[in-house]
């Protein structure tokens, strides 16, 4: 009887551990805008703009809200930096700029692709609560990444990022941070761009 109980507990723990390890949330594939004629392979320069803050405000305290807004603003810069680095890992990489290219860049550096977007959810969560309780203190990071032709402003495609920490809690959930989510999503954006440009798996 005792061994049966301990076997069941063991199986349950293992199951929960596997579930906790499973990826939470996703980063979509590149969804091309219907009817667009632009090819992502044609761009020699890619300008990655800072991501803007489109998160809803739930915080009432003004000081806390200001700190939160600063935190999201800084995450917008970090996420763009991470995307820029992953774009540079593409085979035959384009030049990457992190600020708006100067006038005339189109003629001197070829066509410019702008990667931009917004952060729609940024919840840092509570590491201790996540560690101790399931469904508590979750970390969430959602964003929209757009690929735009700089010259015409036409949208070529979009990637949707929707990440959250393991709802089961525990040690894995405690170590899932917004930085980790941004890093993983940026890698996927680089991969999708590489596939669209060269058809290559990285």
């Amino acid at each position: 009887m005792k061994s049966h109980i301990s076997r069941s507990i063991g199986a349950l723990t293992l199951g929960l551990f596997v579930l906790a390890l499973a990826a939470c949330g996703s980063t979509s594939k590149l969804n091309r805008t219907a009817g667009t004629t632009f090819s992502l392979a044609d761009y020699n320069t890619i300008y990655v703009a800072d991501f803007t803050d489109k998160t809803p405000s739930k915080i009432k305290d003004e000081a806390k809200l200001a700190t939160y807004r600063e935190s999201v603003k800084s995450a917008g810069v970090t996420f763009a930096d991470m995307i820029g680095t992953n774009v540079e890992k593409i085979r035959t990489p384009p030049s990457v700029l992190r600020a708006a290219p100067a006038e005339g860049t189109e003629s001197s550096a070829g066509k410019v692709l702008r990667i931009e977007g917004e952060i729609t959810t940024f919840e840092r969560g509570n590491a201790l609560a996540k560690m101790l309780l399931p469904f508590a203190g979750s970390t969430k990071f959602n964003a929209t990444v757009r690929f735009i032709d700089q010259a015409t402003g036409e949208k070529i495609g979009e990637i949707v990022v929707d990440k959250n920490s393991s709802p089961l809690g525990g040690g894995i959930a405690a170590t899932q941070t917004t930085n980790k989510f941004m890093s993983g999503a940026a890698e996927k954006v680089g991969e999708q761009l590489a596939i669209a440009r060269n058809g290559e798996p990285k």
């Binding site: 840092r124 201790l128 930085n179």
Partner: protein, 216 residues
């Protein structure tokens, strides 16, 4: 019941230790050897440091956060330079490093700020500095647990994630602007960790993986 608690505690500790000893991701371009043969002098650019504002007490002025980021940027730049110089004689790097004071002076003389660098290609920056390659370091810092929560976590699970530091170091060729090497590493520090200590160990890890090693 006791064994279940012991198992859960072990699981939490293992997971927390996993982040503390996370592995680095290293990217090296296919034709790195060609660049290595051509590169003689490398400049270290002033690192960009970003600290999550939510790591500070609510209401901390933005200027205070920015000041700390600037101070840490210099700390990381000096640490990286010192670690690379210390290992240069030991490992025999095939490149020399531009003195960081010279790099800072040249950037100031040219009127190039960190913001200006964002709109410049790495080739343009290398040209202004008169070097064959440039190294750009980005550091992201966060404090997922405050001290009180960390103490509680140590009591319950035997470990905590008090500090989280992610570094990304890229080396760009000065002629083509191509990224030839990239090192990405995220580590977590426990209750007794400090930003300075973690900076030191990260810079040490970078110098160990540095690709211009003549013995490789």
């Amino acid at each position: 019941m006791k064994s279940l608690i012991r198992l859960a505690r072990l699981g939490i500790t293992v997971a927390l230790l996993a982040i503390i000893s996370a592995c680095a991701t290293v990217y090296k371009s296919d034709n790195f050897a060609e660049f290595q043969a051509r590169h003689r002098t490398v400049a270290i650019l002033p690192p960009s440091v970003s600290i999550n504002a939510q790591s500070f007490k609510a209401g901390t002025p933005i200027a205070t956060i920015e000041n700390q980021q600037r101070e840490e940027s210099m700390l990381f730049m000096r640490q990286l330079y010192a670690q690379l110089l210390a290992r240069q004689t030991k490992l025999g790097y095939t490149v020399k490093f531009q003195d960081i004071d010279d790099t800072l002076a040249l950037l100031e003389r040219e009127g190039i700020t960190q913001q200006d660098m964002k709109a410049m290609t790495r080739a343009q920056i290398a040209q202004k500095l008169g070097v064959d390659a440039v190294m750009s370091l980005r550091v992201y810092r966060d404090k997922p647990m405050d001290t009180g929560a960390a103490i509680f976590s140590v009591l319950i699970a035997g470990a905590s994630v008090t500090n989280e530091v992610q570094v990304n170091l890229a080396i760009h060729d000065g002629k083509t602007g191509q990224m030839v090497w990239n090192f990405d590493h995220l580590i977590g520090g426990g209750l007794v960790s400090s930003a300075e200590g973690m900076a030191r160990s990260l810079m040490k890890a970078i110098s160990k993986k540095f690709p211009y090693n003549s013995r490789k």
